[in-house]
Amino acid sequence: MTQVLGNKHMTATPATRVLGVVALVAVLLMALLGLVVSPADVVQGQAVRMLYLHVPSIWIAYGAFVLTSLSSALFLVRSSRRPDGGRHYDRLAGSAAEVGVVFTGITLATGMLWGRVTWGTYWQWDARLTTTVLLFVTYLGYLALRRLPADPRTRGRRAAVMALISFVNVPIVHFSVDWWRTLHQKASLSVGRRPEITGEMYWTLLYSTLAVTIVAIWLIVHRYRVIRLEEMRDEEALEALIASRLKEDDVQA
């Protein structure tokens, strides 16, 4: 990812182009497995195919928000010691959060459609749905905060603190189905618990999570690079302005 720092004029490198191709192939295979090869469910029928989008999306969102939090913590702890003032961490936090928000949105949308055919309703204010939409709104707020004009260090610090506060909700979302009574079912995948999904469906779900992870990595890397380009543009604009003023001052003198 640091490669881009010395590579000013592109958001792609040979490595990420390969990653893009891998992501494409992975997603096509995911669609084949999820939509054609994997069987229908005994209770839900074809609707079970939403599982392979809905569950990986929220796992990717969780992962992205973990990355945002770690980067934000590193920004707060190390920014003063880094030659770039910790902006690498800030960019990583910002790009991961944006990708996390996109996938939380996908989770909500696919969940609503899935809920319509299985529960018989698009929406209910149960603990899982409520905390998830709160997660979405909180990280939207985080992204809005990043756009507030301020000098990079102040902005970075503000955003980092907000990121750490926002993360508190992630475990609440995940465990809401265990802590409270919800319409939403219990977690489909949990560490240390035997999955209650039969073989082909289980493997399709795990594979889909891998495929969506590759896509998310591609998105985060490229978003990071765009943020870097934007920063360079702003810096160059400032430098150009200073230079032109210095020149004008010289002429006037």
Binding site: D41, T131, R181, I197
Partner: protein, 183 residues
């Protein structure tokens, strides 16, 4: 050294402040909207989420307090009890070995037909003489909204299991008898 942009604007400093102010207002407005949304969601959550439903046994036990109140009840549909006539579906649900007779007046979701499916019903207790598999009850549950609470179990249609799997021991030690398999 003056670093303000020099262009056609008469008062560049004022112009820049204005642009800055406008942007600040826009972001501030967006933040207020987001905080309001978060507040609304939290309020909805606190009101609804902590006790989304009562299980059948609890709803029967708390009947004196619940009479004339709308609430949600949860239980598994006993397959052999489902009847449907002119838009009204009657069936019995059970949880914790307690059975409730339900009269439901709206179209049930598609998955309702799946045997032993857990459902969440919205409505209230109505005084009546209801005959259930566990005996005569003094009330039935009058419902107008049904949500199917599907579980996190998934199984291929290719397998021979044809009904929602009952949790182990779900009907053990119950004073009434119903067949655990599909009726």
């Amino acid at each position: 050294m003056d670093l303000s942009p020099r262009n056609e604007v008469e008062n560049p400093g004022e112009f820049r402040r204005k642009v800055h102010r406008n942007r600040r207002w826009a972001v501030l407005a967006a933040t207020v909207v987001l905080i309001a949304a978060a507040g609304f969601i939290t309020a909805q959550g606190l009101r609804n989420a902590t006790l989304f439903f009562r299980n059948v046994d609890e709803a029967v036990e708390q009947r004196p307090e619940l009479v004339d109140r709308r609430f949600r009840i949860q239980g598994r549909v006993i397959p052999s009890t489902v009847r449907s006539e002119s838009g009204v579906t009657t069936f019995q649900i059970t949880h914790g070995c307690v059975v409730a007779f339900v009269q439901h007046t709206a179209d049930p979701p598609e998955l309702f037909t799946s045997p032993w499916i857990p459902v969440v019903l919205e409505g209230q207790w109505v005084s009546s003489q209801a005959q259930t598999v566990a005996g005569v009850d003094t009330h039935h549950f009058q419902s107008d909204r049904m949500l199917v609470k599907h579980t996190n179990e998934y199984a291929s249609v290719n397998e021979q299991r044809v009904s929602e799997k009952l949790p182990k021991g779900f009907l053990n030690d119950c004073a009434f008898e119903v067949s655990a398999s599909e009726s």
